[in-house]
């Protein structure tokens, strides 16, 4: 069965969270496809962590709700085996070793103690596991947090800014880790404010800004339709033809930036009017640029009189 047709793993409907006059999350609805890696993106303070806390029952929505496999998180029959989550609000007692932290969680979840050693191996933390958590680096804490999410070998992973505080090596390790869990067919919802961290790993994106949904869908949909770059010695002629055809065209010397048309369409039109082309390419803005554009559009709306 195509995973795209499968029921979504996570559904958020009208999630809203207000703290007094401040609306942290505003009528947010999105779906996370089962078996896909979804990047939950937005600048710091966009409401990502608050949203994830509401999805996982750690915070009460002011309005709306969220379900995982059709049920609220707290109602899942076997939560630890269904969902593994590591949020920014997950701490560790500084006086307790990493291994004991995981042993306590395994016991709470009713999981066998040997599983602790397995997850310590998965995150390559076995050697440091007996040290008190107070002395761990941020990277080690992140790894232990990931280890905790894997305890129940869950179908869904929810990771909140897992790359925060990681050095470049750690980020590479995380990327490999995410690719690994994704290749096992798990559903992953990973939040980040740094797109480059997840750009290469995610299938889908949910972009939020100021608590509101900006865009959601396959990452390719974010990249396609971005435009076509076409270079021609008769650029003006082609530009008018494209404009007549309803495309949005910006001219830069002999280069045209075309919006709303595919390379195929531009190429065919050029052929039809007999205009030679010297270059025809998808103009893929980096996700970073798209992201900034999407969020700044909303800033403009927000500040409009």
């Amino acid at each position: 069965m195509d995973r795209r047709d499968a029921a979504p793993a996570i559904v958020a409907e009208g999630l809203t969270k207000r703290y007094g006059p401040v609306t942290a999350v505003d009528d947010l609805s999105f779906e996370v496809r089962a078996g896909a890696v979804t990047g939950f993106l937005g600048p710091n303070g966009a409401g990502k962590t608050t949203t994830l806390r509401m999805v996982l029952g750690l915070a009460r929505p002011t309005a709306g709700g969220a379900t995982i496999f059709g049920q609220p998180f707290a109602a899942l029959p076997d939560p630890a085996r269904s969902v593994g989550a590591n949020l920014e609000v997950c701490g560790m007692h500084p006086g307790r070793s990493g291994r004991n932290h995981l042993r306590a969680l395994a016991a709470l979840a009713g999981l066998p103690t040997p599983r602790v050693e397995e997850v310590l191996d998965l995150v390559e933390m076995r050697e440091a596991a007996d040290r008190r958590a107070g002395g761990y680096s941020t990277g080690m804490r992140q790894r232990l947090g990931l280890a905790a999410t894997l305890l129940g070998d869950p179908e869904v992973l929810v990771l909140d800014e897992p790359a925060n505080g990681l050095d470049p090596q750690g980020i590479r390790w995380l990327r490999d880790f995410l690719r690994g869990v994704a290749s096992e067919g798990r559903t992953v919802l990973v939040s980040s404010h740094v797109l480059s961290e997840v750009e290469q790993t995610v299938d889908d994106v949910v972009v939020i800004h100021r608590g509101r949904l900006v865009q959601s869908g396959p990452i390719a949909s974010l990249l396609t339709g971005e435009g076509v770059r076409v270079r021609s010695p008769r650029a003006d002629e082609l530009a008018s033809a494209l404009a007549r055809d309803g495309a949005e065209v910006r001219t830069e010397g002999d280069v045209l930036h075309v919006q709303g048309r595919t390379t195929d369409q531009v190429g065919d039109l050029a052929f039809a009017i007999g205009v030679p082309l010297h270059e025809l390419a998808v103009e893929a803005a980096s996700l970073e640029e798209i992201f900034f554009r999407l969020t700044s559009e909303q800033d403009d709306e927000g500040t409009a009189p």
Partner: protein, 239 residues
């Protein structure tokens, strides 16, 4: 439920907090017994019972232990990872209550062993009537009841307030300032946590309720705080 209690017990065993309080209890017990027997020169049954009735003072310390333990969950943000593998705040709180009750009882055993091991030989050398079996039961067994329930009360207080440092300070002020002040008002002080612990622990001095009534009063205090904590905690966002 059993697995949650197991998890909470592992948490208790794997930091130095419980061990530290156990050591503190041993030292406090030793000091009280030595002071009351050597400096107090007990001759009557009531005096001798007081010398062994360390449960009252230790209860106050273990009340703070419960507050520290429950408050640490918020301070070190260890509630979220627990709730993510075992959702249900009420069940987690119930498991923590049981686990801390067990820990309080275990520390109470340390208290009783130290008190009797030091106190009995010292009291044997004192003049006046000897203590009866019921006196030993009242101070030993009563002490265990007092410290166990007090530890659970502490968990209720710590969870209700949800911030470790204010909870500890508030508890100290309550126990050592406000409750003693209640002695100024007639017939009130015997219903305080401290006087209930005193009676349960086998000390008959001061304005105290009979043993059974004192147990009911301490359990009522505990139930009130635990129920309030459960209600507040179920509505609280984990931050």
């Amino acid at each position: 439920m059993i697995q949650r209690i197991r998890g909470e017990l592992i948490k208790l065993r794997t930091t130095r907090t419980a061990l530290g309080f156990a050591a503190g209890v041993a030292v406090l017990t030793l000091a009280i017994v030595l002071l009351t027997t050597l400096a107090g020169d007990p001759k009557t049954v009531a005096d001798k019972r007081s010398a062994l009735a360390v449960g009252s003072a230790v209860s106050a310390l273990l009340l703070v232990f419960g507050v520290v333990g429950a408050g640490a969950e918020y301070r070190h943000r260890t509630l979220a990872p627990a709730l993510l593998v075992a959702p249900g705040r009420g069940r987690l709180l119930a498991a923590r209550l049981v686990a801390y009750g067990i820990a309080g009882l275990a520390i109470g055993v340390v208290m009783t062993v130290v008190a009797f091991a030091i106190g009995l030989p010292l009291l044997a050398g004192q003049p006046g009537p000897d203590l009866s079996t019921s006196d030993y039961l009242r101070t030993g067994g009563g002490g265990l009841v007092a410290v166990t329930v007090s530890t659970m009360l502490g968990v209720g207080v710590g969870t209700l307030i949800g911030k470790q440092v204010p909870a500890v300070i508030g508890t100290m002020v309550w126990i050592f300032v406000l409750e003693p002040l209640s002695g100024l008002i007639d017939h009130i002080s015997k219903f305080t946590i401290g006087q209930a612990e005193t009676s349960i622990g086998g000390d008959t001095g001061g304005d105290v309720l009979p043993w059974g009534a004192a147990v009911l009063v301490l359990v009522a205090w505990t139930a009130a705080f635990v129920i309030a904590a459960a209600v507040v905690d179920s509505r609280r966002d984990i931050v």
